[in-house]
Symmetry: C2
């Protein structure tokens, strides 16, 4: 009765396992996972690149089934990924997001969402508005990562933003920056993915057919996930322009950066973002997120689902515990 099903990654293998149901401590809540999304970081974890063992998965929507303080029980929620220690030197400087001992749901030192149940600290939890469906709410984490760009850096309404990369995150960033009122375009390699921009009237261009006037771009978001993406972004951006860097590849890349100094380009790293504005945007805008869902698998078919997610022609693959 107190066992749960979960996908566990250990010894380079992802397996369906029976585990003891986690118990929330006094600062945590227990969540029954309704849906979880597979992100490229999960695929990197499966390749052993981040050294994580345990239950992966950090994009989810679920229902609070046990809150020791009782306030959240029964609520439909999403949860932020990072769990600071509140104790290290950086936390003492209130730099919680970059805690030296940070744990991250399904990524670092903390079991994640590819399971029937998970626990999270209460302060990580956000309520999902009624009008936002589970199949939308499961995208809150990557939408927050897109919001983070505008949270960190001053983007001017007058400046066009080119998103370089038509993968899952690229298409989500396009939707999010558009919802934030910016003028965006996407440059990609897959006609079928760029087609998912039409409902939102966002222009999408195939890299091999790029019109000549797409150059000297004020802001380029590098989200190709490939090692050649940065050099391409540096070609596309205008002098004194911004390249927002979302690609995390756990290996060295070869790049000529002299153009960065000569053209005084700003290369700006960007990672996870705040959930509340992401939820607000999702409540107030149609993100056409159904267009980004390739498939939904039961937890039992986890390895198959990850195979599907790994194929670059596909977009978001969900798991339903």
């Amino acid at each position: 009765m107190d066992n749960i099903k979960a996908l566990t990654f250990r010894n380079d293998e992802l397996k369906l396992t029976d585990l003891k149901k986690p118990e929330p401590n006094n600062n945590e809540v227990l969540i029954e996972v309704s849906l979880a999304g597979i992100c490229n970081t999960d695929l990197e974890i499966m390749s052993g690149m981040l050294g994580f063992t345990g239950i992966p998965g950090h994009e989810f929507v679920g229902k609070v089934v046990d809150d020791p303080r009782n306030k959240l029980s029964g609520k439909r929620v999403v949860g932020e990924v990072n769990i600071p220690c509140y104790n290290c030197e950086r936390c003492r400087r209130r730099h919680f997001r970059h805690c030296l001992n940070i744990k991250a749901l399904g990524m670092r030192g903390r079991d994640g969402a590819f399971a029937e149940y998970l626990t999270l600290p209460r302060e990580n939890i956000h309520l999902v508005p009624e009008t936002v469906s589970d199949r939308e709410a499961v995208f809150v984490e990557p939408i927050a990562a897109a919001v983070e760009i505008a949270e960190q850096y001053h983007l001017k309404p007058s400046e066009e933003i080119a998103i370089l990369g038509d993968g899952k995150l690229g298409l989500i960033i396009a939707r999010t920056l558009k919802a934030l009122g910016y003028s965006v375009l996407v440059i990609g390699r897959h006609e079928s993915k760029l087609a998912r921009l039409k409902s939102l009237k966002i222009p999408g261009y195939l890299e091999r057919n790029l019109p000549k006037n797409i150059q000297d771009i004020p802001v380029v978001v590098e989200v190709t996930g490939s090692s050649s993406g940065l050099e391409r972004a540096l070609q596309l951006v205008r002098p004194e322009g911004k390249v927002i860097f979302k690609t995390t590849i756990a290996r060295k890349i070869e790049v000529n950066l002299s153009i960065l100094a000569i053209d005084e380009i700003q290369l700006l790293g960007s990672r996870c973002g705040p959930f509340p504005p992401a939820l607000n945007l999702l409540k107030d805008n149609n993100f056409y997120l159904e267009e980004l869902i390739t498939d939904c698998y039961p937890l039992e078919k986890g390895p198959e689902a990850l195979e599907k997610a790994r194929d670059k022609v596909n977009l978001k693959v969900l798991l339903q515990p």
Copy 2:
């Protein structure tokens, strides 16, 4: 009578040549060069990396000997390096500094300062205050490049700035940011160069003896000129910190940039800067620039002077036409 001596770089060789004295057009002035400085970019030119042929040299102080409009004749001056076309698409957007057809004194399409005389457009010229000596004024160009950092980016008085690299430009940036009121330190590899910080009470640290508390630095200026400098800067800077990128190496470097996204670091390109604030700083502060001058050669000994400048134990080498 109308011939001048100049160092000319052609076919991978720097030679003393006799050339026709340049004649200023109506928008230009003719300057008799008093002193010229050798910069690392000049050394790159000598390696053929920038594809420049002609008279190198872009750091100078001199005297106007012919001004067709007569206003500047007899004045002691320095001159900005970049000459925009005022005609291309970027110039039409008033983005002169990044003109598509830009010419640059001694670097691109325009003869430079390793000569008895040079011409420059009148708008590039700035008067040297009386109290600033020639041996100080010859440093205005690199001081302006240091000022540019604060011109481009918001540096907070509360945030310590570490300068990574104890070469000529590193030591000049340290002096300039100190004169601008910032708290700076320098990390280098040469005890003899770091010693040139003592007069200004700027702390200098040998890379191999770096105290453990020199970490999580808010702002790191990468001015090593080496291909490993960037990775080191990314280790030293704190999350959400700034790395100012001054190194221009005309080749690819291998670097793991995932830390840039994960730690949300800003990598900020920086190049030439404005002369007026540089001249003001020089007028109001003792930069102890004599400490940075290794030697001064007559123009005839140009090749020898460049050899001296190439040796990493040396600092600024001057040419006196």
